[in-house]
């Protein structure tokens, strides 16, 4: 990353857009305190990522690029494990598990090993893990990448519901249609630099383009030319 600077408003869906290798995943990893920046400063929910990483992790939910689930555990065992790491007690975790399994339509699969699940089902379990502890802020890295139409739609509905419930959601994607549908604000990132950030209306005015895809191409080409 190269001196990237941006701010995300509360209770919106913010889209981090960029071509492959632009630095979207690295940015999300730094903001979720998985990676430490070599220089610079960032605050998440008011906490410095270098000074208070544990406080940040208590209040965020993360969906990494890969679901990162243990194939030999069931969804219930997985959520008990992560819930306990979040300091939740068992009865609270069990109540939340019932609620989330019902929300994601996975009640019948509660005791099946995750290794037997489809990619879409795994993505849903990973999202359940991200919101298990009711975080205020979600970081979702390519949440619909590689999913079939139905699963992708379920995930987009889920993101929209989270935003409606007052959560702040930061997603990385290179699906412009999805970003246009979900995001109130976007940041276009290329070669580790933030090319431009703001509401989609702001970017339309800046580039004189009408669709997010055209805005994106305009900004990336401008960056390349510059």
């Amino acid at each position: 990353m190269d001196h990237i600077a941006f701010e995300v408003s509360e209770r919106i869906v913010f889209g981090l857009l960029g071509p492959n290798g632009a630095g979207k995943t690295t940015t999300l990893r730094m903001l979720s305190t998985v990676l430490k920046p070599t220089e610079g400063k960032a605050t998440v929910l008011g906490y410095d990522i270098l000074e208070k990483p544990l406080r940040i992790r208590e209040s965020i939910g993360v969906l990494p690029e890969d679901t990162g689930l243990y194939d030999r555990l069931t969804p219930v065992e997985t959520l008990i494990f992560y819930g306990k790491l979040h300091g939740m007690d068992r009865s609270e975790i069990m109540g939340r598990i019932d609620e989330l399994l019902s929300m994601m339509g996975l009640e019948a699969k509660r005791n099946d090993k995750i290794g037997t699940f489809s990619k879409g089902m795994k993505q849903k379990v990973a999202l359940m893990r991200a919101i298990l502890h009711r975080p205020d802020l979600l970081f979702l890295d390519e949440p619909t990448a590689g999913l079939d139409v139905m699963s992708a739609r379920d995930i987009r509905d889920f993101i929209a519901r989270q935003a409606a419930a007052g959560k702040t959601v930061v997603i990385s994607t290179h699906n412009m249609w999805e970003a246009q549908k979900l995001c109130q604000e976007v940041g276009v990132i290329n070669k580790g630099k933030m090319v431009s950030a703001g509401t989609i209306k702001d970017l339309e005015r800046l580039t004189h383009e009408e669709t997010l895809e055209d805005i994106f191409v305009h900004l990336i080409k401008g960056e390349v030319a510059g």
């Binding site: 701010e7 995300v8 408003s9 509360e10 209770r11 690295t26 990893r29 903001l31 979720s32 305190t33 998985v34 990676l35 430490k36 960032a42 605050t43 998440v44 929910l45 008011g46 906490y47 544990l54 406080r55 992790r57 208590e58 209040s59 965020i60 993360v62 990494p64 690029e65 890969d66 679901t67 990162g68 689930l69 243990y70 194939d71 030999r72 555990l73 065992e77 494990f81 992560y82 306990k84 790491l85 979040h86 300091g87 939740m88 007690d89 090993k113 990973a126 893990r129 502890h133 009711r134 975080p135 205020d136 802020l137 702040t168």
Partner: protein, 409 residues
């Protein structure tokens, strides 16, 4: 990014979170059928078989060597009768005219013994009689047969000499001008010493062998399956994650060691029951009292903890399970050096090596088996081991905390 609120949870302590991480490590590993088979079931079945199956073929009592005897002297029945009377030999008379070397080469007989036509005459004339033995050195049954026949020959020759001396009215005791009285100061027989030296070797080797696959899986395996990143977004420190994983590996390797030791105990019991004649001297069991057993258990634990700390540090550098296994193979070869050394080091040198890592605990296990250690030695070895272990865990933590090593960024 603006702050939208703060969540306060009064939940699990750091210790409990560590226990949660250990629980997941152990549960995940035990769910793996391959792990259960390789760490528990196979050792219990294969170790007894691997100890006893070769013995079955070597043991002359269970599987006597086939001896062909060509008796060219009809009057020399004494020596042949002695062989035939021995239950560890299966003796058959051969006819003249057969290619005797070929009989052994083709494994029709393990050994062929030729008693010359003038055998009785030479003995009677008090001249040297020569018995020809044809055997195959590449065949263990053949070598066993030769040893048994040579033993018989010595006994037979002794009997002849004693008879001749009696005829001359000479006391046969004249043949034994010196008698040696031995005093074994520690009361440990050679067989016990061998078993005692093998105990630290096996405990040391089994701890790293059992830990290697778990250490590879929990570090490089997690990287490869990309499960580590989600773990790192949890409100636990990398030190807690590392210690949880490490303790999980230690517990799993101890479970593995337990099953392998059970397999060895079963194997040795069968061995002592079926093949006690192979031990040469009377097999006396080693008596290890509770205190010595506790010392052995303590230093076995330290050995396992030290070996697994090294394994985990090295495996963290690997990108895949396969790469980690290549590292662990090299490390295990390295571990074997001190374990082999312990069997041959002079005792005087051992006491000076008590403070060395890996070697010190191995020496303490050996000394506890023989009950030849002092409380000061135990304390010094324990303290030095704790220091080494702390340094190793510090290095493991530094390695695990490096984004460059974990994510190759």
């Amino acid at each position: 990014m603006k702050r939208t609120g703060m969540m306060v949870r009064i939940g699990l302590s750091a210790k409990s979170r560590l226990a949660v991480i250990v629980w997941r490590e152990v549960l995940d590993a035990l769910r793996d059928r391959r792990t259960l088979i390789t760490a528990a079931i196979l050792p219990m079945l294969l170790i007894p078989v691997s100890i006893n199956l070769p013995m079955f073929f070597i043991s002359p009592r269970r599987n006597p060597p086939d001896i062909g005897v060509l008796q060219l002297d009809a009057g020399a029945g004494g020596f042949a009768a002695l062989m035939k009377g021995m239950e560890e030999l299966r003796v058959t008379d051969l006819d003249q005219g057969q290619n005797l070397t070929r009989l052994v080469e083709t494994n029709e007989y393990d050994v062929v013994v030729v008693i010359p036509s003038n055998f009785t005459e030479l003995i009677r004339d008090e001249r040297k009689a020569v018995i020809q033995i044809i055997y195959d050195g590449s065949n263990p049954r053949s070598s066993t047969g030769v040893n048994l026949i040579q033993g018989l020959e010595r006994a037979y020759a002794q009997r002849i000499v004693e008879e001749r001396m009696k005829e001359r009215k000479i006391d046969p005791e004249l043949l034994h001008p010196i008698e040696v009285n031995t005093l074994n100061v520690k009361g440990i027989s050679q067989a016990q010493a061998t078993v005692g030296m093998l105990i630290p070797y096996f405990i040391g080797l089994l701890s790293v062998l059992a830990g290697a696959s778990f250490a590879s899986d929990t570090t490089a395996g997690e990287k490869e399956r990309k499960t580590l990143e989600a773990f790192l977004t949890m409100p636990v420190t990398r030190l807690q994650i590392l210690l949880g994983k490490y303790l999980g590996v230690v517990i799993l390797s101890l479970i593995g060691v337990f099953f392998q030791l059970v397999g060895m105990s079963v194997g040795m019991s069968v061995y002592l029951t079926l093949f006690s004649e192979l031990l040469g001297e009377t097999a006396q069991p080693l008596h290890i009292d509770f205190t010595n057993f506790s010392v052995i258990a303590l230093f076995s634990l330290i050995l396992s903890m030290t070996g697994n700390a090294i394994l985990m540090t090295v495996c963290t550098f690997a990108k895949s399970f396969k790469e980690a296994q290549q590292y662990t193979s090299a490390l295990i070869t390295g571990f074997i050096i001190p374990m082999m050394l312990i069997m041959y080091l002079p005792p005087a040198l051992m006491s000076r090596m008590l403070l060395l890592p890996v070697l010190g605990p191995l020496i303490m296990i050996r000394n506890a088996v023989f009950n030849i250690y002092t409380p000061t030695q135990t304390l010094l070895c324990l303290l030095s081991s704790i220091v080494y272990l702390s340094v190793l865990l510090f290095v493991a933590h530094k390695t695990f905390s490096s984004d460059k090593i974990l994510f190759k960024v």
